[in-house]
């Protein structure tokens, strides 16, 4: 009886260890480009350049004006998401609207669209630290972060899914104890 219990316990612990070592599942969905704006940091790209972001082949690719810049996911030391908002009427029209009569430009500033930001810190071949900030549509930053983590990027702030997984794991271990 004791032997069987010990055997079951060994099997259970082996299964737990194996479950922890399984790499996070990479979604097999086709990579759809995400519209984004590079705010600062990407080498060779002008600030506030619009483009599209895709994750594929272990890289984050930013495609803009016929050229592509890439960052290897494994070189990423920290991926952090945030949120912000921007004026709905932007650009030249937005600037001109500020001179509208009776404060109409100011009223237009109240109409805002939400957006997410994703901040990435990565190292180059010489070990130099770089940082880059992108803005993406709402809800895309967390998805992008999860994709990058699945491809080997690291983060100082775990995603919501990871955090909930971690908490459920600790709860089960607590129950076992």
């Amino acid at each position: 009886m004791l032997k069987i219990t010990a055997l079951i316990l060994i099997c259970l612990s082996a299964l737990t260890v194996a479950a922890q070592n399984v790499p996070p599942a990479v979604s097999s969905q086709p990579q759809t480009p995400i519209k984004s704006v590079e705010l600062v940091g990407l080498a060779g790209v002008k600030e506030n350049s619009g483009g599209t972001l895709t994750v594929g082949g272990g890289k984050l690719l930013f495609v803009h004006s016929k050229s592509t810049s890439g960052i290897a996911a494994t070189a990423m030391e920290d991926v952090v998401t945030g949120n912000d908002s921007q004026r709905v009427v932007r650009g030249t029209l937005g600037a001109l609207s500020m001179f509208g009569p009776y404060g109409s430009g100011r009223v237009l500033s109240l109409f805002r669209s939400k957006l997410d930001s994703i901040t990435i810190q990565y190292r180059d071949a010489d070990g130099g630290l770089h940082g880059v900030v992108f803005t993406v549509p709402v809800g895309k930053a967390d998805w992008l972060k999860q994709e990058l983590i699945a491809q080997g990027a690291r983060t100082s702030i775990p995603t919501q899914a990871e955090a909930s997984a971690g908490s459920s794991q600790s709860a089960t271990t607590g129950e076992k104890q």
Binding site: L39, V40, G41, D78, V80, G82, D84, S85, Q86, R87, M98, R106, S109, L110, R112, S117, T119, Q121, R123, D124, D126, G127, G128, L129, H130, G131, V132, V133
Partner: protein, 179 residues
């Protein structure tokens, strides 16, 4: 009557010359007593620290990247080399100065408030900048402020800080041909 005006003008000129002489003398002394520039061939910029103040990641990265961009821009005229945090090539350089920046104050304003009210919602960042030599001795230090008051996104405050910090470095560092 004409003589009176001549005399009055001469008296005014004499008074102005006499009163400004001490100020000019003091300015001359200040120039001669100005501290000599720190000689450096390269600057290594460390990542912005914010141990005491909670700073959003995008501000931290924007401060660092803008600082490097502005130092490179200013360094073109004096041929500095700007290295990033952790760059292995910086280890071989003599006359290397490390720029360590620590956030001392941060007030995140609101772009919306600025656009609607003009006067409210300013964003400001205060960063303590230290220029440190190879032995870890602090050569120069100062609090530098970055602000956005009226127009632009919150991150524009980081650009303002970077410009001021690069100007401060340009004023106090002299390039050498060290390798």
């Amino acid at each position: 009557m004409r003589g009176f005006f001549k005399a009055a003008t001469a008296l005014c000129l004499f008074a102005v010359t006499f009163s400004s002489a001490p100020f000019l003398h003091a300015q001359g002394n200040a120039k001669s007593n100005a501290p000599s520039k720190i000689r450096a061939s390269a600057i290594r910029v460390e990542m912005i620290r914010s141990d005491e103040i909670k700073l959003p990641a995008e501000f931290q990265v924007a401060l660092y990247e803008n600082l490097i961009q502005q130092l490179e821009k200013k360094g073109r005229s004096v041929s500095w080399h700007v290295y990033r945090d952790g760059d292995r090539n910086a280890a071989n350089r003599t006359d290397l100065v490390v720029l360590r920046s620590t956030v001392r104050g941060f007030k995140q304003g609101s772009e919306e408030k600025r656009q609607v009210t003009t006067v409210a919602g300013a964003t400001s960042i205060t960063v303590h900048c230290q220029f440190i030599d190879n032995q870890g001795k602090v050569l120069l230090e100062r609090d530098i402020n970055g602000k956005v008051r009226f127009f632009g996104a919150n991150l524009k405050a980081t650009y303002d800080f970077a410009k001021k910090a690069a100007t401060f470095a340009h004023q106090n560092l002299a390039a050498t041909d060290g390798t």
